[in-house]
Symmetry: D2
Subunit: 284 residues, 4 copies
Amino acid sequence: MSKIVLGDNQYGKSETHVVRVTRQGARHEIKDLNVSVALAGDFSDTHLTGDNSKVLPTDTQKNTVFAFAHDGVGEIEDFAIRLARHFVSEFAPVYRARVHVEEFGWQRIHDHAFVRAGTEKRLAMVTCSDDGTWVVAGVSDLVVLKSTGSEFHGYIKDRYTTLPETHDRIMATSLTARWRFHDAQADWARSYAEVRRLLLDTFAAKHSLSLQQTLYAMGAAVLEARPEVVEVRISMPNKHHFVVDLSPFGLENPNEVFYASDRPYGQIEGAVSREDAPDAGLAW
Amino acid sequence: MSKIVLGDNQYGKSETHVVRVTRQGARHEIKDLNVSVALAGDFSDTHLTGDNSKVLPTDTQKNTVFAFAHDGVGEIEDFAIRLARHFVSEFAPVYRARVHVEEFGWQRIHDHAFVRAGTEKRLAMVTCSDDGTWVVAGVSDLVVLKSTGSEFHGYIKDRYTTLPETHDRIMATSLTARWRFHDAQADWARSYAEVRRLLLDTFAAKHSLSLQQTLYAMGAAVLEARPEVVEVRISMPNKHHFVVDLSPFGLENPNEVFYASDRPYGQIEGAVSREDAPDAGLAW
Amino acid sequence: MSKIVLGDNQYGKSETHVVRVTRQGARHEIKDLNVSVALAGDFSDTHLTGDNSKVLPTDTQKNTVFAFAHDGVGEIEDFAIRLARHFVSEFAPVYRARVHVEEFGWQRIHDHAFVRAGTEKRLAMVTCSDDGTWVVAGVSDLVVLKSTGSEFHGYIKDRYTTLPETHDRIMATSLTARWRFHDAQADWARSYAEVRRLLLDTFAAKHSLSLQQTLYAMGAAVLEARPEVVEVRISMPNKHHFVVDLSPFGLENPNEVFYASDRPYGQIEGAVSREDAPDAGLAW
Amino acid sequence: MSKIVLGDNQYGKSETHVVRVTRQGARHEIKDLNVSVALAGDFSDTHLTGDNSKVLPTDTQKNTVFAFAHDGVGEIEDFAIRLARHFVSEFAPVYRARVHVEEFGWQRIHDHAFVRAGTEKRLAMVTCSDDGTWVVAGVSDLVVLKSTGSEFHGYIKDRYTTLPETHDRIMATSLTARWRFHDAQADWARSYAEVRRLLLDTFAAKHSLSLQQTLYAMGAAVLEARPEVVEVRISMPNKHHFVVDLSPFGLENPNEVFYASDRPYGQIEGAVSREDAPDAGLAW
């Protein structure tokens, strides 16, 4: 029988949940992060013989996250860059380090008290190797709905088609968007705020003939306005809201009463990029 | 062997997820509700023989929720009252109807577009019988954190004690609070906004020697300021944030770097009420 | 304004997840438990002034769970009894201790290796006070389905009725059942196995005219066969499986292709007990 | 500014939950599937202009799943092949169709009644294009634990290392494994049963010096015994079980009492393949 070989592999510590408090007198700032590390490199030995001499334990990776948080977090892109570079530069067997950060938002209600702000998470994903650093930012669980301004018609009909065409429907999704930067330097905070605003504004204002059209418009709006971004990848589950048939009760329903369905759902995924974007390398 | 008898029972349709759009020209309003109905009454026959002649199907309950939404939702307490009274008054076998409503908040970003506002849900629970109507409002999944202003010491020590006393810790919880009204008439929207504000303000500003003290202060603050409320029940899981020991790395950690733990968690539950509160009846 | 008073309250450590390995030579046994403790008693001081001198920290409760596991777990009812009695007998302010245990099942695949056995959890809930000990056992997340042998007709019709009557449907549920014992002594392991078997057998074999009829039959079957049990409480969400209308595609569907719906769902709850059951006291 | 272009994209209906009952007299069989479809192809128009003339609605994809289930499901690999080929062959704009199926297991308790069998799901992922058909099978949520036979030592130590080396620990994971077939023809049912058995046996019996070693051994065991499989990809979160320090209570803990931690967790991912495996093409 044919020879058996080890293929792609990586390992790391996932979901180290660190909260960093910064005290400026009575006024505190907090950063609330969920950090995941994944390392790839020369790890054949541990797979083949259990020799761990090139393995940095995931427990140590967790400790490193905490220790780096001691020096301050700053923007999550910078924090992820510092961590990823550490793993690549300090440990020869590590060829590629990838650090994912999810940041939970908090709204201030007092000098040192906060309430969770929204379901959404801000994301950073940084990949480092000896050849470079790739930065991707993002947002997930950003739930949006528009109650009109969305149509869907003119599609293929076949023997299994029952969906009626519509010129007015609810469009709702739980948006995940990730965007790749030209290089590893940007005003991360401002960029995030602006990209988020562009995504929301386009979703809201762009009249939609399909989720795909909305997805493309959202990505294009970001690329048109933000030169630091070279590619946007968006995932938009179509959270269906069906018009309830009230006619059995003698009632009309001109798009007023909807049933929000859980499953199944449409899933729309797409990338929008600059034609001259630098190669994605290890970014994704 | 002893005779076997049917005890307490109820049934109903849970989690009918209805979205109601109100169109005022180009500007839309949305109400996003998860509605659960539970009926109790003379239902021995269906249990003992399968005779369903006194059973209102849960499917019909769902239809009723949609049909009532057609007439407009208004505040969720009023919507729940209308529904609960319908089931009690229309169907002789129904002795008690209870309607739970969870409302998801949306923040406007456009005339007809919205983004989900926070993790929290506004709650209403209305119970009707021939003897009266009981209204409970509430909030759940309201995640709050204070980064100082919380102590814990002076507790019992025994042979299993390892917890060090602290004079400064993070206090964080995912708050669920429910409050009972004196009667079935109030300015629900204003009451909700004020109770929510009082809960948050007290959590934030009250120096805490225990979660129990904070819980009691939150309930008392509501009762002191809101005459329409006669009882507050609060559940506060203690979402532990442990100070990370950075000393192995030669670093000090003066309450700056915390590890947010999932499980186990403390669970603190308590009621605060007026001494002269009317009997709770079927409210809970 | 009226005087404000503290009402019912309790606190404790929830979800201490302990795994106990017992080594008998090469052959191991494991017990995998999620343990929650709740204490009620003389806790006014901590609520009113933050004086914690009567408070046993939840951290100590967690330690106690681990320390008691050191002595062996045995059946979860016995483990919960030992823990609950400890808290009541050792700490004067504690009037009532309640211990919930969820046990996850594992199936042996090797002397010391196991695979998780099913979605279901075995439950024990023990309440102790100076006046006695109450034991409730149970099962949750026991997902069952019968593909025929279930009807639903003869129910109330009103203006909101659209559900067609059926003489053959799928009946599916995620069963939660809890049963109260006559006293705090029984062969817990055998009792659990037999009650579980009786619940499943009755669900499967009893022709059903309503979920309520099935629920009652399941409870009655347990009470008829198991003298140590005096009351059974059952919760059965009706996990709807709708026959898909294939007629637009020229296909018949004689109850062969179903769509499994998530929400909304019917929720059926009921208790079945012996007429001469001892008072439930603090059991629930 | 640079030109903006559409990149990779796909869309489809996710999580159509279909239950297929096959009646052979009184004895029924059930298949319980969660089916997701994703199509890629010539979909620029809908993205750029909202012209949907090449779009097969996800609603129609859902209907197709139900209609195909009418003809019988068989093994999920075959069902996915039939569906994927349909979408590619019937609709010219579709270049690639991918069908994911999750199958939930049920254990018979009666001629027509069943109880859910385990937390695990059987998986099939089939990708079709004009150039071929790729079949990947798998299992997810297969939770396994070994209470000894696992060591971890000899790893890199640095300034952030605090983990003690161990020669005896619990190893537990929630396994996800996917394996690629040489071609689109195999005895799927038998192959699945054998691969699952090999994965479990190797996890149980192979003495482990690292999760990576176990992962590789599991993949290699499959490849050595199953000629129809050419590549195995495994993801193994390290569900940490920490030995509880009972020394403060004067108790020894020779690997008997463990605390099962939720987060953070190690995440180990790797591929094992035949050196002469055919190119993966569009399989993953």
